[in-house]
């Protein structure tokens, strides 16, 4: 090993990330070469300075308290939603009896039952809808950010291949779901590759397609029960976002191609996935 090799391996050595054999070779060289030894000492000193001399900003006590309070509030707020969203039982259960309840009860029981039923109805229909637009806006922001980052950071794909049989297994191995991957080269949307991305707090598959000089990021993740079936389009900051779902997955396509191109892309993609 020469000094250039050592220079290349120095970071891995410093971080204890080399395999034992290579690590030993580096160690040997450092013992024999004063110049590399000194360079290594500087690296050690800097690493030590970042961990010890540079400030470590501990969380202030009031933040700790604020967070615990807001977490507690969040379960207070979600319990009423939970009644309708997660378990249909309390909503459905009164129904067979309800006719009787409504017509035959003394007023105080009637009022109570009505209040319960009303609360359940409000919780089931009103709250999720209240939540929806904000959540969508937030997701749209994240999607655009991911799209822009993927183009900016020279990190468009983790696996660059136009072969769906290369991209799909790669993604399947990295994710806990099997996202559909199709190549649309013949239809004018060649597959460029795939990437792992992170959205809305879960890992998602990102497929990258090209349309002439433009790129389309297609984000895919499993559908959760209760997802709305409606197709959505969002236009923001010059980007078009198109959302649809199928039996298993959520899809969000993001690009600066025209909305018509995006619609066309969606139809082609759906056509191919339906045929399998």
């Amino acid at each position: 090993m020469n000094c250039q090799d050592i220079n290349n391996l120095m970071d891995g050595y410093l971080d204890g990330e080399l395999d034992p054999v290579t690590s030993q070779k580096v160690e040997q060289h450092l013992r024999d070469c004063p110049k590399c030894e000194q360079a290594y000492e500087v690296e050690i000193a800097m690493a030590h300075a970042i961990s010890q001399a540079a400030p470590y900003y501990k969380a202030p006590l009031e933040l700790r308290e604020r967070i615990q309070v807001s977490l507690r509030e969040s379960i207070g707020a979600t319990t009423s939603r939970g009644v309708s969203g997660e378990s249909p039982l309390p909503v459905r259960r009164p129904e067979p009896v309800r006719r009787g309840v409504f017509f035959d009860m003394p007023w105080n029981w009637l009022a109570l039952a009505a209040a319960i039923v009303l609360a359940a109805i409000v919780a089931s229909s009103f709250l999720p809808r209240l939540r929806q637009p904000g959540a969508d806006q937030f997701l749209a922001t994240q999607l655009i950010a991911s799209h822009v980052r993927s183009l900016m950071a020279n990190h468009l794909t983790d696996v660059a291949s136009s072969d769906q049989h290369t991209v799909k297994p790669w993604l399947d191995a990295k994710l806990d779901f099997a996202a559909p991957v199709v190549d649309l080269s013949n239809q004018g949307f060649p597959l460029i590759g795939g990437r792992l991305d992170y959205l809305d707090n879960h890992s998602v598959a990102a497929l990258v397609y090209q349309r002439r000089k433009h790129f389309i990021n297609l984000f895919i993740w499993p559908r959760t029960p209760g997802t709305s079936e409606a197709q959505k389009t969002v236009t923001r900051e010059g980007y078009h976002l198109l959302h649809w779902v199928d039996a298993d997955f959520n899809y969000w396509a993001v690009s600066d191609v025209s909305e018509a191109d995006l619609q066309n892309f969606k139809q082609l993609f759906e056509g191919q996935t339906l045929h399998r």
Partner: protein, 210 residues
């Protein structure tokens, strides 16, 4: 309605009262059970995640340079983490939380991006015509807290975050790669570039000080 009510009211009041009680009982019981489940979820979330709050705050502060923003981001990240805690099955809770902190911080940074442009690293200024400091001089000054803080603060985000994750949070290449969504090989090369940049800054500043 009143007549219908009166007619049927006579029919069996007691039976109906008790069935209403059952309805009420079932609803309240279910509600209680769900409250208990949520409480339980929160307790296990807090047990797993509250210990990482210092790491989360530290990371956010380095990313954002601003105490108020850092606190807001950490709070938002904790709420988001709690909402998706059920989906977390990994082994490293700290890395998972920091991923969310980072996403939240970048969302905020992107929003404020125009204001932030003035603080990017001005390479030209730092690299003009000064004699370099020797490694010995760097060794001598490396424990200078103020100098190190300024040096790290001046680095571009991608270098700053990776150095903090490696040396202050003490994460492996694998975990850093998960957070930054890059392969371990890229973690190593980015760390190398980050350290080179940091050394460059230290070198020029130390020689300017002389």
């Amino acid at each position: 309605m009143a007549t219908a009510l009166a007619a049927e009211y006579a029919f069996d009041t007691e039976y109906l009262e008790s069935s209403a009680k059952i309805v009420k009982f079932v609803v309240l019981k279910k509600q209680k059970e769900q409250d208990a489940t949520r409480e339980h979820e929160l307790a296990s979330f807090e047990e797993a995640m509250l210990p990482h709050m210092d790491a989360a705050h530290n990371f956010a502060k380095w990313l954002l340079h601003n105490e108020q923003d850092a606190q807001d981001v950490v709070q938002e990240a904790y709420l988001r983490a709690f909402r998706s805690f059920a989906g977390f099955h990994g082994s490293n809770g700290r890395a998972w939380l920091l991923t969310i902190v980072r996403n939240t911080a970048y969302t905020l940074l992107k929003k404020n991006r125009s204001a932030d442009l003035t603080t990017t690293f001005d390479e030209e200024i730092h690299l003009t015509g000064h004699e370099s400091a020797s490694p010995a001089m760097i060794l001598e000054r490396a424990e200078d807290a103020e100098l190190m803080k300024n040096a790290i603060d001046q680095l571009p985000e991608e270098f700053r975050e990776i150095l903090i994750l490696r040396h202050q949070v003490d994460l492996s290449y694998h975990d850093i790669g998960e957070i930054l969504k890059i392969p371990a090989g890229t973690v190593m090369s980015r760390l190398a570039r980050a350290r080179a940049k940091l050394k460059e800054y230290l070198t020029t500043h130390i020689s300017q000080d002389r």
